[in-house]
Structures are given as structure tokens and as C-alpha cells.
Amino acid sequence: MENQREITTIQAGAILSSTIIGVGVLPIPLFAVRGADSGAPLVTVCGVLFAFLGLFLITRLGMRFPDRSITQYGEEIIGKWLSRLGSAAVIGFFAVLTSLAAREFGEVVITSVLTKTPLEVTVIVMLTLAAISTRNNITTFAYIHQFYFPLLIGPALLIVALSLKNAEAINLQPIWGNSHEGMLASVLTIAALFQGSFIITTVIPAMRRPQTAMKASVFALLISGGLYVTIVAATVSVFGSEETKNLLWPTLELAKATSLPANILERLDAAFLAVWVTAVFTTLNSSYFLAVKEMSKLFRLKDHKLFTFFLLPAVFSMAMVPRNILNMYEIIQNVSRIGLFVTVVYPGLLLVVSVLRKKRGETSEKRSAT
């Protein structure tokens, strides 16, 4: 199990991108215009750059220890107890992230499509689906993502391209925006949407050539970041920044205002939601997989399957914590900003210490020689 090394660079990139592209697609234009109205694309770019910092640190660490993931090399770098604390934080954070993503998914579904289906049902169906598919090993996991990856990117780009018919360039000017109150907060919120990229730490030990991990990370961030920036730019150019502030899920509204040529489909929101459900599934799958896999490593178990259903009730009950939809978004913003400590500061700390103490994974030299 541990010695499986079958994931290619492209697969790793696909895993990262489809993990990043998730439930955040819907509200991201709203987060961005809150920062700097017409400068929303710029805010998104800043968010992507900030997210890249975190991804860079964790990939760098992974390449230093190509056989191990964060729970394992953490122990070598900063000692057993400190690192166990850190790993517990990582696992806990991703469990919370999974639950919040599932809840956000449920809220969108219950508001826009299935108004009578109980929220609990949509959430538990999605979580169970994610839990079942995390029972596979990491190679199957990679194939799932590779399979869905084009299905996510294609339709999303199509909707953006079709919506540009109603776009006005004036809505995006000035490109740095008129007011910058709360810009930093928006950048952090957007950067937090990329936290799923932390999955690279679990993927690297299974990669065929771990030294290409950085390439996969850059590739994934270009694709997913590019898609996010395009979506934000399209939404703001169609609606204008002030109208975007009035919409809870601007991207969904964009799909609603877009029609296929020749009246084949007069509104694309149903098609878009179908794609989006897949996107949410891949994200949930990844963050759940990360939590489960790292947990099994923390307890030094060979197999992670034990935890898949064990974690489910906890994740589900956390998903039920937010009292209402606005409360949920407040919680999501706070949790994900705090999460930046786990996904950026903690790996950064590990990397600095490992460089100072000259710690390195043993196999890395052997591997680069072959």
C-alpha cells in the first residue's frame, strides 16, 4: 500500500485542480467584489498568488521528503508531540472543511432546486458518497479525479464564453477598483478557497516522480486560478460590481442569465448545477480523503478504510452546526481564514525548521539518481 507509486504528474495536477474547484465557485465573485468592486479580478489574482505561497511551501516540503506526508515528516522535523498537535490540527481542519462544504452544497440545493427536500438528506447523501469513494486506494482516487477534471473545466468555460455576449468592459474598469476597504479580507477569503490544494501532501508519496510535484502544483493553480479569475471577470463584466453585491451566488445567476444560442436551452443554471455537483463531490472527496488518510498515518495504521465511516457522524454533525445561511457564510469565512494558519503558516514553519536542521528524506537522492 505505502509503496504504490503510480500517480503521474498530470494526474496530480488534475487532483489538485478538481479539488480546488469546488463549492466556492458560486460565491467567489461576491467575495471578490466586496474587496474592490470593479477590481474583483485583481483581488482574485492576489488571492491566487497568496494561495500559491501556501501550495509552494507544502509542495517544497513534500519534495524534501518524497516518501512521507506531513504527519510523518512533521515528527522528524519538530519532534513527536509538537508535530502530533500540528497533524491533529490539519486533520481537524479538513474534517471541518469537508463538513462546511457539504453544508454549503446543501444550502444551495435547498434554495435553488430542491426546496422541499430536507437539508439533512442532501448533506448526508453527499457525505456518504464521498465517504464511500474514499475507501478506494490512492490510485483509484487519482483516476476519479482525472476522469472528472475535463467535465468540470469544459462546461464552466462554455458558460463563461456564452455569457460574454452580455459583457461590458466598462464594468471591469478601473481594474484596480474604486474602493479598497476590506480588500485584504477578501484576498484571504479567496486564498482560503484554494486550501484543498493541501491534498498534495498526501499525493506526493504516491507519485511516480515526486520531483515533478512542483510542476503539477503550478499547473493546477494556473488552471483552477485561471478558471476562478475568468469566472469572476465574466460575472462582474455582465452584472457590474454593484449588482454582483446584491447576489448571493453570482455565478449561478450568471448561468441563469445565459442561454445557449438558437433557444436550445434558455437558461443554463440547471446544466451548471449538474457540473457544480460534480465539482463539489471531487472537493469533498479530496478533503475527506486527506483527513482520513492523515488520521490513519497519525495512528500508524496501514489502512485508512477504518476511519471512513467512523468520521462520518462527526463530519455530519459539524455540518449541522451553522444556524442559518448567513451564519454559515460567517463561519466559513472565519474558519477558512483561521485555516490559513494550518495550511500556510504550519508548513512554512516546518520548511524553515527542516532547512535549518538540514533534515531531508533519505530516498530523495537515490530517486533523482535513477
Partner: protein, 399 residues
């Protein structure tokens, strides 16, 4: 175990709702209602104690509900029943209420099927309601996930309910006739493309106001596009004349162009009709002594469509150049007077403010910043209009 699994699988979807159980709303109209109707109203969304009665004027909401099975799906079915009257395809019901939701709920109480807005195509609001403010209406439709942004919203001169009850000959479903009136107006260049979503976006912008088509029901149950109803925030201020729509579209450089204009030549009886085939325009903005000065350059391509008398002939290009010159002047005056009129009202339906925000952000942030500030500054802005037009064709007659 197996039976436990079967239960959720066989019961099907929670949100299943058969077509027959829905009341599919195709069109909706909003009118003002008498104060006296408040007394007749049953307590459906409010009670004397607990949920209070909202302290706003009464409105009357009329919906046009599609009758399942009666709406012909294609030309093949039209032969059967002969000429289908609109009363056979739709059901028009109205009800009063204090707010949109209140009125809709009062209606729902009387209609068996669940009111469903997924196919809502036309929202007609009477002038009287629009002048008191559209906030409540906009909020209701924006919040409802079923409503599409591609529906048309229009302001009716006089009573809006009559448009719901109208039975035009061309189309079996009145709401669809209203919709195709607007869609064709767009195609013929009579009105800019302006779905309700665009109206919402424009109204929300800091440097722009929304506008809607202003329509009137004529004697033969036909609908005339009478101009643009222009707004300030959510309140309608007035309506333009139909030809001013052409001026608006020229200023914005919108295509296709469709309006015809009379151009008077030398001698008091020499007149021709021309029509624009395409337009282009560009804005420029500069700051002069702390004031915004906009330069609007308009270019139109025109054709000659009609000559009013035979006393003169158009057989050389010099004659066409003369027409060009006069058309330029006429268009310039029309555009200037439209902008002036809007300035007096303080309603920037053109989006000059947005342009200034985009191109002169420094000035905008320092001096304008908010929507209300722009509304007052728009009145003082200066405009320079340059018009260029070229006449290209004269039809099939040689002189």
C-alpha cells in the same frame, strides 16, 4: 436490510410536482389598488395581532396562468379548434395585497396549484406603481430562485391588468405576444435589449439608472412601444417619446438601428425619410476646471427610404451629401435635447457616470463616490456631441 434500502429508493423525489399540480405563471401585472380593498382582504399573511399589517398602499397583482393541455405546442395542433381565443389557453386571476408576497399569497389561497414562476416571461407594472417605487417588486423577483433574468419587465401606460387580459390575434398566449412584441422590437431596432436582469444591473450601478420599455394597449389589443420609462433609483420619473429611443440608441451606439427620420432639405417642401442601418459611438471624458466634460462621437450609416415629393431629384452624390449634412444636424439636436431632458430629471440612463468611474477613478473617488452624489453631479456635467453620418444607398429608384 434490503427493504430498508428500498424505501427511500422507491418513494422517489421529495420535490416531485406534477405539471397538473402547478399553476405555471406566464405573465404577471402589478397595479395600484384602492385603499378600500384592504378592508375586504382576508387575513392571510398577517393577523390583527402578532404579524402586523404592512403600512404600505395596496397593490393588485394579476397573473396569467397557463392551462395545461390547452396551449398549442406547434403549428400542427392549431387546425383543430379553429381560432383559439386567449381565454382558452390561459386563466387570468387577480388579487390584492399590501406587498408583492402578500398579494401572491392571497392569490395562492384561491388557486389550487402551487404558483410556479419558472416560466414567467413578462412582468407588467403600471405607471402609477412604478412612480411610487419598485423596490418591493424588484426585491420579490430577485429573491425568488425560479424567476429568470431573461424575462421582460415593462411599464404600462394606465392599467397594467388590461395587458394581462388582452387577447391579441397573432399569438394564442397573451403573455407570449407581449414577449414577442418586445423581442421583435429589439430585432427591428426599436428598443435596446433590456431584460429585467439588465434593468436590475443598471439600477444597481452607481453611475447609471435603469430604464424599461413603456407600452400602451391599443384598440385592437395590440401593444405599442411608446418609449422608455426612465428611473431614478427605484422610482419612475417619466417616459421618453418613441423617437427619443432612437436618440438613446445612437448615443449608446446600439445596433440594429431601426428608426426612420424625416430630413428636411432646402426649400420648405423638400423632404426625405432616411433610416439608419448601423451605428457606432464612443465616449470620451475629461476634467475641465473640476467639471466633467463628456464627448460623445456618434457615427451612423443611413439609407434613403422615401422621398416626399417629386420636385427635386436625388441623382448625384452631391444631393446625398446634402442629406447627410442635414441628418447630422437633426440627429445632433435630438441627442442633445434628450441628454438635456435627462439632466433636468437627474436620471443618467446612459451610464455616463459609469464611464467616468471607469476612466477617471481618481476624480470619481474624490468628488463623486456615491450614487446620490452622481445624480446631482450629472445635472452639471457638460456634453459635446459630434455626429457623423454617411448615406450609402437609395433603394431601387434611380432618382
Amino acid at each position: 436490510m434490503l427493504s430498508a434500502l428500498l424505501v427511500p429508493l422507491l418513494t422517489g423525489c421529495w420535490d416531485r410536482l406534477e405539471l397538473e399540480e402547478r399553476a405555471v405563471v406566464l405573465g404577471i401585472s402589478v397595479d395600484t389598488a384602492d385603499k378600500s380593498t384592504a378592508k375586504r382582504e382576508d387575513e392571510i399573511t398577517h393577523t390583527a395581532d402578532g404579524f402586523p399589517v404592512p403600512e404600505v398602499n395596496m397593490i393588485r397583482v394579476t397573473v396569467q396562468i397557463a392551462l395545461p393541455g390547452r396551449i398549442p405546442l406547434g403549428p400542427g395542433e392549431s387546425g383543430g379548434g379553429g381560432k383559439g381565443r386567449s381565454s382558452e389557453t390561459v386563466w387570468v386571476v387577480g388579487g390584492e395585497g399590501h406587498t408583492m408576497d402578500d398579494a401572491i399569497m392571497n392569490l395562492q389561497q384561491q388557486i389550487s396549484g402551487r404558483i410556479f414562476f419558472g416560466h414567467l416571461r413578462v412582468i407588467v407594472v403600471s405607471e402609477a406603481v412604478a412612480k411610487t417605487g419598485m423596490q418591493n417588486i424588484n426585491d420579490y423577483f430577485r429573491r425568488n430562485p425560479e424567476v429568470r433574468r431573461m424575462a421582460w419587465m415593462m411599464i404600462s401606460k394606465g392599467n397594467a391588468e388590461r395587458l394581462m387580459r388582452a387577447s391579441p390575434e397573432l399569438e394564442r398566449v397573451p403573455a407570449l405576444y407581449l414577449m414577442s412584441t418586445m423581442d421583435n422590437a429589439v430585432k427591428l431596432g426599436k428598443f435596446p435589449e433590456n431584460y429585467v436582469g439588465m434593468f436590475w444591473s443598471n439600477s444597481a450601478k452607481k453611475g447609471q439608472e435603469g430604464y424599461l420599455p413603456y407600452v400602451e394597449l391599443k384598440k385592437e389589443q395590440n401593444i405599442e412601444v411608446k418609449g422608455m420609462a426612465y428611473f431614478k433609483n427605484d422610482k419612475m420619473l417619466g417616459a421618453t417619446k418613441p423617437f427619443q429611443v432612437a436618440a438613446y440608441m445612437s448615443i449608446k451606439g446600439m445596433n440594429p438601428a431601426g428608426y426612420r427620420g424625416v430630413v428636411k432639405l432646402e426649400g420648405h417642401e423638400n423632404m426625405v425619410m432616411v433610416y439608419a442601418t448601423s451605428r457606432r459611438s464612443s465616449f470620451k471624458v475629461r476634467v475641465e476646471n473640476g467639471e466633467l466634460v463628456f464627448t460623445v462621437s456618434i457615427f451612423t450609416e443611413i439609407n434613403l427610404e422615401e422621398k416626399i415629393n417629386e420636385q427635386f431629384s436625388v441623382n448625384d452624390s452631391a444631393a446625398l451629401e446634402d442629406i447627410e449634412q442635414r441628418n447630422k444636424q437633426a440627429l445632433r439636436t435630438t441627442c442633445e435635447s434628450l441628454i438635456e431632458e435627462m439632466q433636468q430629471k437627474g436620471s443618467d440612463i446612459f451610464g455616463f457616470g459609469e464611464y467616468a468611474r471607469a476612466k477617471k477613478p481618481g476624480y470619481w473617488n474624490k468628488n463623486v463616490g456615491t450614487k446620490s452624489q452622481w445624480q446631482s453631479m450629472f445635472k452639471e456635467a457638460r456634453f459635446e456631441i459630434k455626429v457623423d453620418s454617411r448615406i450609402r444607398r437609395i433603394g431601387m429608384k434611380a432618382k
